[in-house]
Symmetry: C2
Subunit: 237 residues, 2 copies
């Protein structure tokens, strides 16, 4: 937690906030070893970053006086990530990684090799997803919460929603065996498609290429989804 | 497990192997849903990659007939990774990531912000480290086991062993706030230093820069060690 992210319920008035959740209180006590009088980095959810003085800290609450919110959060990556739904435990970590790396739009997609049961996982509940995204923002000192959408049927997504997403973005399909190496240091608005463990099936690859994606690869190594997501984002942007 | 990595005890003779460990048997049954007659990708530890026919599979063992070992494993990254010892759970995942990404030399270093207790963790036992590295190799279809060294004292390492490591490598120190952005797509032999959660302390940064490292950064976002390691390797090489 490199930033205390203040959500609307945390605010007492325009310059004071109160934290009452066990997770953040414990982190302030045990990791920061914070004391009243300490200056801490804070940010307003979807707003600016600044600093606050810790006024009180006990087992039930922490109170903060906000001194300034005078900096913009770091710039987002110019990417909309289209990710085949990973298995639940990997989804949790992947949400933290992508939030920390600056992804602001994420669509979780059903594909042939996504197990149907994954869509019933408690990890997909809005409050769970939000919690993982907040952890990523707190880690990276960002404040802008990513938007997450679900597409539970491949073909309707491809036919009805994909054309609009690709209308003003460069489509990149990351898939082993594609002809082009992953480009480096681009700044185009990009729609980046990444398959599940085991990859997109041939039919899906063909349809995505027909729809306007360029196929790219990261070399002959096969990476886990969470490793591939970080590696692709770091190399592309 | 995209590759069955055959270790010396697995070999029955020059063209047959037997697996008896529960992890790989379960993976063959439950993930691959393998049947006798199936062709599987195999590799000899520290050797070549090829294919084998599954002859038998039951709860106690799998037997394989090696048909060919005719391909070299993917090329390694030209990097020696110098990593402040992460906390045990993150170490486990980081070992898998770096093995999958092609790191072949890893030195785990004590620094001021590494908790001393981490050095007593069971995760540092050679067999545990080896197991995580093997998982990374199996994932990436690689066969060459990385070498892992421990440096439990910063100053003796810096004074006695670092000069030789830097003699024929480009030293890159990844640290927030360094003046230069992380370079992209280099192929120099590199010694890449990455600090612990919370970073290197100022004294350590100064000493590493004096020793010949170039300071580089990944932008204003603060990443977890496991995310930073993958992002740096993907951007650099």
């Amino acid at each position: 937690m490199n930033l205390i992210l203040l959500e609307p319920p945390d605010w007492l008035d325009a310059s004071h906030a109160r934290l009452t959740d066990a997770r953040r209180l414990q982190h302030l006590r045990d990791v920061h070893r914070a004391q009243p009088g300490d200056r801490l980095t804070v940010g307003a959810l979807d707003g600016r970053i600044g600093r606050a003085e810790l006024l009180t800290l006990d087992d039930a609450e922490a109170t903060l006086r906000i001194e300034a919110l005078d900096r913009e959060p770091p710039p987002p990556l110019p990417v909309h990530l289209l990710l085949a739904l990973p298995r639940p435990r990997m989804l949790a970590r992947t949400l933290e990684h992508v939030a920390a790396l600056g992804v602001k739009r994420l669509t979780l997609l059903h594909t042939a090799r996504v197990e149907k049961s994954y869509w019933q996982s408690p990890e997909l509940r809005p409050e769970k997803i939000r919690q993982h995204l907040l952890l990523g923002l707190e880690q990276a000192r960002d404040t802008r919460l990513p938007e997450v959408a679900f597409e539970t049927r491949f073909k309707p997504f491809l036919e009805d929603r994909l054309p609009a997403l690709l209308a003003n973005r460069r489509g990149l399909l990351a898939h082993p065996g594609m002809p082009a190496a992953c480009p480096r240091g681009i700044d185009d608005p990009t729609l980046l498609a990444i398959g599940p463990e085991g990859g997109f099936v041939d039919y899906e690859v063909e349809r995505l290429l027909e729809s306007g994606f360029e196929g790219i690869h990261l070399g002959e190594r096969i990476l886990r989804v969470e490793t591939a997501v970080t590696a692709l984002l770091a190399r592309l942007f």
